[in-house]
């Protein structure tokens, strides 16, 4: 099971990203553990400057803007 974290301070794009990941995972039947990280020092700890950022199994795979469906499918 993959652990996916969405980093963001609660803006609209972060919520969209979260929803999109849930959707793609459901379509593909992939089991994931989805978390939202809103704490600023924690976000900065990943070295991400543009939110939303996405972390898969501890590795930053995306920063800035809503990721495309294809990109998300590639992570799962």
């Amino acid at each position: 099971m993959k652990n996916i974290k969405v980093l963001g301070t609660g803006c609209a794009n972060c919520k969209t990203t979260l929803k999109l990941i849930e959707e793609v995972a459901r379509e593909k039947g992939a089991e994931i553990q989805l978390e939202k990280v809103e704490d600023l020092p924690a976000i900065m700890g990943y070295g991400v400057m543009s939110t939303p950022g996405v972390v898969v199994d501890g590795k930053v795979v995306h920063a800035g803007g809503v990721p495309s469906r294809d990109k998300i499918a590639g992570w799962l």
Partner: protein, 340 residues
């Protein structure tokens, strides 16, 4: 796929198509209005013609500019901009930061992570502020809409003055040496070296990024544009000019500029949302300096953004930031009202 294999040919074809479409808009709008059961040369005829010509014109301009900027943005990521600014001296650094603010993608919701990331990598505080002021205020959407609706002179003035405010405000904040007014947890963050991973994007990827931003931005912005043009079309001959003139016009008195700036602070909207209001104010006789000051205040000084910034800045630094930027905007308003 065509874009993947022939990206250059695709861009060329798209540019030609765009240009032809742009040239065809005016004759097409005449054909359309003439087909409607409206009396020629009536007020309604003029208003309809204005609406049917301006709407596709503005949307087409916006789509073109956003596409090109989307491609440019894919080059100037926040990480690359940070690496370019790290270790710069004030002065040159402020100018560079303000210019990079135009081409770097920026969303006000990532203002704080960006701020910390810059400071962490050794970008001077004043230079960081130049970037933070310019990025939201001087952006391609505001400039395109100003150009399309009010002409290139107003767009150029907005560009020049916006950059000047960002450069000078950042420089002043840097001179004041307020590094100790950052919140403690920010100052205690480990320093990082700004590096850029070589990006492997092809031209086709950048075109894809451009179209993605057209979908995202134009998809979000078109209702505001439509509202702005509808107001403009409605005003075409219908509304008396003297009402706003007495409040925000040239002879309204010294207080009209600061009052406009004050009204602008709690308002929070993007560049596109403010354009319909600007159009209505100008058409009703408000003077250009006062309206530009109002527009800059709405975009650059927003109360919600200050609340977020409070997490990383102590109150005094926020107060200085607001004071310096507001003074710059006031000056812009007064100078414009004087020379025009």
């Amino acid at each position: 796929m065509f874009i993947k294999n022939w990206p250059r040919t695709f861009l060329l074809l798209a540019a030609v198509l765009w240009f032809v479409a742009y040239q065809l808009l005016e004759p097409l709008s005449h054909v359309l209005v003439n087909a409607l059961p409206v009396e020629r040369n009536s007020r309604l005829y003029d208003a309809l013609q204005f609406f049917l010509y301006d709407t596709p014109k503005v949307l087409l301009l916006l789509a073109g500019v956003v596409l090109v900027m989307g491609m440019v943005n894919s080059w100037f990521t926040a990480e690359r901009t940070r690496a370019l600014l790290a270790g710069r001296h004030e002065g040159v650094g402020n100018v560079l930061a303000a210019l990079l603010g135009i081409v770097t993608p920026f969303c006000s919701c990532s203002a704080v992570p960006l701020f910390i990331g810059f400071v962490q990598a050794g970008v001077p505080l004043g230079v960081t502020f130049s970037f933070l002021i310019s990025a939201p205020m001087v952006n391609e959407i505001a400039l395109t809409l100003l150009f399309a609706l009010f002409g290139w002179k107003i767009a150029a003035l907005y560009l020049g003055l916006g950059l000047a405010i960002a450069i000078i405000s950042g420089y002043i904040i840097g001179r004041l040496k307020m590094e100790n007014h950052l919140e403690d947890w920010v100052r205690n963050m480990p320093a990082v070296t700004a590096t850029v991973e070589g990006d492997t994007l092809t031209l086709a990827d950048r075109i894809g990024a451009g179209f993605a931003s057209v979908r995202e931005i134009v998809g979000k912005v078109w209702p505001y544009v439509l509202a702005g043009i509808a107001i403009g079309a409605g005003i075409h001959g219908y509304v008396p000019q003297d009402y706003m003139a007495s409040l925000m016009g040239k002879d309204a008195g010294w207080w009209s500029v600061p009052v406009s700036v004050l009204i602008g602070v709690p308002m929070y909207t993007n560049a596109a949302g403010i354009i319909p209001i600007v159009e209505a104010l100008l058409a009703k006789g408000a003077s250009l300096g006062t309206v530009l000051a109002f527009m800059m205040s709405v975009i650059a000084l927003s109360f919600p953004e200050m609340v977020i910034l409070r997490k990383v800045l102590k109150l005094r630094l926020i107060a200085v930031f607001v004071g310096v930027v507001a003074t710059g905007i006031l000056l812009v308003g007064y100078v414009f009202n004087m020379i025009l």
